[in-house]
């Protein structure tokens, strides 16, 4: 399958009051079309910065991000970023939020398209609700639906389900897989949850603590639906955790997690 995204020796540093803060150090990898890549790493290691670089919100100091063979330097609707805090507009109804990205193209059909995606994510009947009338899980669905409406080729997801409780998070993962089976997007998912990565991804990149480098890459060879309790999945989980510096025998002191 052809290459969709190519991250080539990307480096990024920020100015801080203690001088230059190296965040990403010469990271290179490629993502194939329709591939689901999860990125895990210690907190504060620069995962979010890497995602923002790929989506075009931040320019790298060195290196390039190439999408479909051409350099990518600014955000556009081919790749939609879904952030942890969420960005569903609280002053618009669910339908208006979903229609937002369509920007007046074919306005007659817009409401129909919006309602179709509201239905897909399970928000049927809530099209006229305001975000503050929705629960946390429903808000995530609205966010996902708003991204899907513009038919993006790439979804950048930055810990999208981290704020949800465990049960809702699991349910949203299954919903996401169900939708992806139909729509075939290329997905980059940042998560601190190794199980979530194994559940969803085709490939898992493990980042080092700051400045982020790629420490290891794991293919996830299991077909969907996946059973996380299988011996092979547990083995993979242990191997990834070991790369993250967590020894499952109970000695967590080796964890190299950076600050917040």
């Amino acid at each position: 399958m052809r290459t969709k995204i190519e991250v080539h020796e990307v480096t990024k540093a920020f100015a801080s009051n203690k001088g230059r803060l190296e965040v990403i150090d010469s990271v290179s990898f490629a993502v194939r079309e329709s591939e689901f890549v999860a990125i895990v790493g210690p907190s504060g290691c620069g995962k979010t910065t890497l995602l923002n670089l790929m989506a075009g919100f931040i320019r790298p100091d060195a290196g390039t991000v190439v999408i479909d063979g051409s350099p990518h330097s600014r955000p556009d609707s081919r790749g939609i970023l879904i952030s942890q805090q969420g960005s569903v507009f609280p002053w618009l109804t669910v339908r208006e939020n979903l229609m937002f990205g369509l920007n007046g193209h074919a306005p007659a059909g817009n409401a129909g398209i919006a309602d179709h995606y509201a239905d897909i994510v399970g928000l049927k009947g809530f099209e006229d609700s305001y975000p503050h009338e929705l629960s946390g899980g429903m808000l995530k669905r609205a966010e996902l639906a708003r991204a899907l409406v513009v038919k993006p080729e790439i979804l950048y997801m930055d810990e999208p389900f981290a704020a949800l409780d465990a049960l809702m998070s699991l349910r949203m993962r299954n919903e996401l897989l169900r939708i992806l089976a139909k729509e075939r997007h290329t997905v980059l998912l940042i998560t601190h949850d190794v199980e979530e990565a194994i559940h969803l991804a085709d490939r898992i990149l493990v980042l080092s603590s700051r400045p982020a480098r790629i420490r290891a890459t794991f293919d996830v060879p299991f077909s969907h639906p996946r059973r996380l309790s299988s011996a092979a999945a547990q083995e993979l989980r242990t191997a990834i955790l070991r790369e993250l510096g967590v020894d499952e025998t109970g000695d967590d002191d080796a964890c190299p997690a950076g600050p917040g």
Binding site: Q85, F100, P131
Partner: protein, 252 residues
């Protein structure tokens, strides 16, 4: 019934104050200071001969025009200053300096420029209510959360969509707050402005009642009416806060 119960203490305080006032006037045998009953009969006199409505409508008209002009200027100006860094840096220091000048201090200049007709109080109302609304609107634009602007950027929407669907709705709650402050100030100022040199309005009515024969019953009647109208104007602006398009700001 529940609401009546809740407002009972407030009504009781007012009743006690009126009783104390009444007692004090009778006790001191004052010839000038009116009893509450004299205020009631005085008010009735004004209602009957129709002058009360003339004064109220004159004041409201001046507030309506002055405040309306201020809204028309303040909202675009505030949005522009909030959005354009350069406009903010250029104009904000000037506005911050003009803002603390009391509208009363403008009265001589207003009379010099506009004479003693309706234009002077309208100008004073404009000057006093435009600054709080500009400031609130600017602050509103500055406090739009980054994540919403980022999302709009991500979807690559037109500038027009960005403004009508993101910036303006995001600022609307702040605009409503600014309008509430602005109208409150406007009502304070109209009464003061009318006390100077006019022939109508509630401010004029108060001064005229005193000058034309120490009618303090009408002075106090005027004050109470000013208070009641100010209260209803504020209620009116508060009802804007319950509009569907701004309620998100207050809902949790």
């Amino acid at each position: 019934m529940q609401r009546l119960k809740e407002s009972l203490p407030a009504l009781a305080v007012i009743a006690v104050l009126i009783a104390a006032w009444w007692g004090a006037v009778i006790g001191t045998h004052s010839l000038i200071f009116p009893t509450p009953w004299a205020v009631v009969t005085g008010s009735w006199e004004l209602i009957e001969n129709g002058t009360l409505w003339q004064h109220i409508s004159a004041s409201l008209m001046r507030v309506g025009i002055g405040f309306g002009l201020a809204v028309c200027v303040a909202l675009p100006l505030g949005l522009w200053m909030g959005w354009m860094q350069g406009a903010y840096r250029t104009l904000n220091p000037l506005f911050q300096m003009l803002r603390p000048i009391s509208p009363i201090a403008w009265i001589p200049i207003a009379i010099l420029w506009f004479g003693v007709g309706d234009a002077s109080p309208i100008y004073l109302i404009f000057i006093s209510s435009v600054f709080p609304m500009v400031v609130q609107t600017t602050v509103g634009v500055h406090t739009i959360e980054k994540r919403y602007l980022r999302a709009a950027e991500n979807f690559g929407v037109s500038r027009r969509t960005l403004f009508t669907r993101v910036v303006i709705p995001a600022v609307l709650p702040q605009i409503v707050v600014g309008m509430r402050i602005g109208l409150g100030v406007a009502w304070l100022v109209v009464v003061a402005a009318e006390m100077i040199a006019l022939h109508s309005g509630l401010g004029y009515m108060i001064m005229d009642s005193r000058n034309a024969g120490n009618r303090y019953d009408l002075v106090i009647a005027g004050m109470i009416i000013i208070g009641l109208i100010g209260l209803s104007l504020d209620r009116l602006m508060r009802s804007l806060e319950r509009m569907r398009s701004v309620r998100w700001r207050y809902a949790h």
